[in-house]
Amino acid sequence: MSEITKTASPVASRPLLKTLTPWIGFLILLLALPNIFSSNVGLYTMNLMGIFIIFALSYNMLLGQGGMLSFGHAVYFGLGGFMSVHFMNYIEDGDFTFPMYLIPIFGGLIGLVFGIIIGSFSTRRAGTVFAMISLGVGELMAASSLIFVAFFGGEEGVSGDRTTGPELMGINFGQDIHIYYLIAGWVFVTVALMYLFSRTPAGRMANAVRDNAERAEFVGYSQRKVRFVSFCASGFFAGIAGGLFALNFEIVTEENLNALTSGTVLLMAYIGGVGFFIGPIVGAVVFTLLQSILSNYTDIWQLYVGILFVLTVMYVPQGLTGIIVMHTAAWRMRRIGLLVLPYLRAGIPALAMLTGIATFLETIHHMRSSVEGETAMSLMGVDFDSHGIVTWIVILALVVVGGYLTRSQLPQLRDAWEMANKPPAKAEGAGS
């Protein structure tokens, strides 16, 4: 399942520079991004992305690396957020002095504490029992958050002010760009830490317990303890993500620890691909993009996300990263060029079909939600009449013709795929 475990070459034998290259690239990317997308929307989206990257990675420590399906991971995220926002307020009131940029530490600590408490009884079993306990704990916390108003602030949540702390070289985090670099720094550090965790014996044993708990026990490891360690670490990082959320939005509400957020993180991790370390990163980026860009164009973006999610679970359980990784064999053999034309031949009609389906959904939605008698609508800059016969003919044509052409192109795509992945004659049987 995990590509990380398969390519377990001893780290020490690889040249240091080669190991560090992706990390240096990551750092440069983080530093360069705000110069490319410098608009407010861009910064907002990237901040959210950074927070979700940490959150989704911490979730994948459970699901992908530890085999624990959690339906209540938002608990640690939300608690981290609430704790951080309270500490922000303490700093504002002058109760104690602490640099604002380290606030997420408190979020992480409360995540860790609750990870220890809840993990002590929930990690005894994986599978459905664990999933159910996590669901129960999640619902319990979400319901409690509306009862204990002193800590959770009831319906309106708790808000704070991130600019009141001691200044760091004249920066008080008043601007979005400052908070971007703060989040980027935390993302870099936590991603590195989580990667290193997956390389420690504890991380490795988590994989072993996921794959076969019984054998891991025979080797001498308590499956419960191994899960417990992963669970606590995961809670810690989720808490940090929550703390960053509090710093970024300066408000934390009950919504941040309810089932919806727990579902969102599962969605992100799974769409990205739980079998790979970078899967949740891809998932968080894609999901945030979908959320912030798609929601500008359409009201029913959640419907599309739902469809995407169900299709991913059904047909590509390896996630988006899995699709990319599938091509590495062809890439290594320098045969990726063979796939370009077949992809184009199948992709263009498929795109036409998808456009048709999306237009169909949008038109129906427009007919139901618009004011009575208003039939003019516009989609991606094209204006048309939602009740016009031409519209429906175009939709039908796109779906039927696109679908038919896609179908007719599949055999040649399959042939090309086999050609590209056929092991070379002298190769030692290297498959995908």
Partner: protein
């Protein structure tokens, strides 16, 4: 006080039996396939919405019969083409699939019917108070719900214990491989049970829609409670599901009806508290407030101390 207990008891039983209609299907599906169907409550919601649409054109009674059948067919299709396909990726993928399905169904319902609560009402023939007790009315529709639920329970019990199909289902629950060896078409049994389970959920939706409201969040409200029942009752135990349903139904109604708080308890011992302390919410905590938490508390306690559930004989 007596009146309070009487009505809470009645309401608790109505809620409990309604929950049982959902839980019975879910527990059968769960014990057969080992998959806790997250989308089960979504089929309940679909039942209510289908019945609403049908009731506009053909009236309530046609909806009562047709909507559950439609939902059952849809459930069978989901099992045949969705769940069975995902099965190859393992249990976790199946669980996630049903979770995604629940999400998707909610979105689709919002897409088709909109976000607002639908005006789905009980038929006029049932809009009268059945009896008045201590000045409080008991609506006839609730009695109707009670009647339907009990009828379904007896029918289910008879089918499962007295008929040949029921015996095969029971065998498939406990030893699916052995049942297949004996020549029974276990996948077909699975599909049938899934369909019937969804139909029952749909029926629950049809009769609960007018009473509890027909809105896109209705699946979410009831969904996790039904899991609690299945887990608390025990894997594959219909009796367990029945007892747990009544338990949860009564627990919730009584917790809402009895307005006691920690403060009352403290006053019994003449302890007062500081109104500004950080724990003030804890001292003023009252039973109606914690009513929504109680099922989950029960769930966690059961999973820790008795993972097989109350009446189950094997672990999940």
């Amino acid at each position: 006080m007596l009146e309070l207990i009487f009505f809470s008891l009645l309401n608790g039983i109505v809620t409990g039996l309604l929950l049982f209609m959902l839980a019975s299907g879910l527990t059968l599906i769960f014990s057969m396939m080992g998959v806790l169907n997250f989308a089960h409550a979504s089929f309940y919601m679909l039942g209510a919405y289908f019945a609403y649409t049908i009731s506009i054109y053909l009236g309530f009674w046609i909806g009562l019969i047709v909507a559950p059948i439609l939902v059952g067919l849809l459930g069978a299709v989901v099992e045949r083409y969705g769940l069975r396909y995902v099965h190859r990726w393992g249990h976790v993928a199946e669980l996630i699939f049903t979770f995604g399905l629940a999400f998707l169904i909610e979105e689709v319902v919002q897409f088709i019917w909109g976000k607002d609560t639908k005006a789905y009402h009980e038929p006029e023939i049932l809009q009268f108070p059945l009896f008045t007790f201590f000045g409080q009315n008991f609506p006839a529709y609730k009695a109707f719900m009670l009647l339907i639920s009990i009828g379904i329970f007896i029918m289910l019990l008879l089918i499962l214990t007295r008929s040949r199909v029921g015996l095969i289902i029971q065998a498939a629950i406990h030893k699916p491989n052995m049942t297949a060896m004996l020549g029974h078409n276990v996948p077909l049994v699975f599909m049938g049970v899934f369909g019937v389970g969804c139909a029952l959920a749909g029926l629950a939706g049809v009769i609960a829609g007018p009473a509890l409201g027909t809105f896109p969040g209705m699946a979410f409200v009831l969904g996790s409670i039904v899991f609690v029942i299945v887990v608390v009752g025990g894997l594959g135990s219909l009796t367990g599901a029945f007892v747990a349903s009544l338990l949860i139904g009564l627990l919730q109604t009584f917790a809402i009806a009895l307005d006691y708080s920690v403060n009352d308890l403290l006053q019994l011992f003449n302890i007062s508290f500081d109104a500004d302390s950080a724990f003030r919410d804890l001292w003023t905590l009252s039973l109606p407030q914690i009513a929504p938490i109680l099922p989950y508390l029960l769930l966690i306690l059961i999973l820790i101390f008795r993972p097989t559930g109350l009446f189950g004989n094997r672990e999940t």
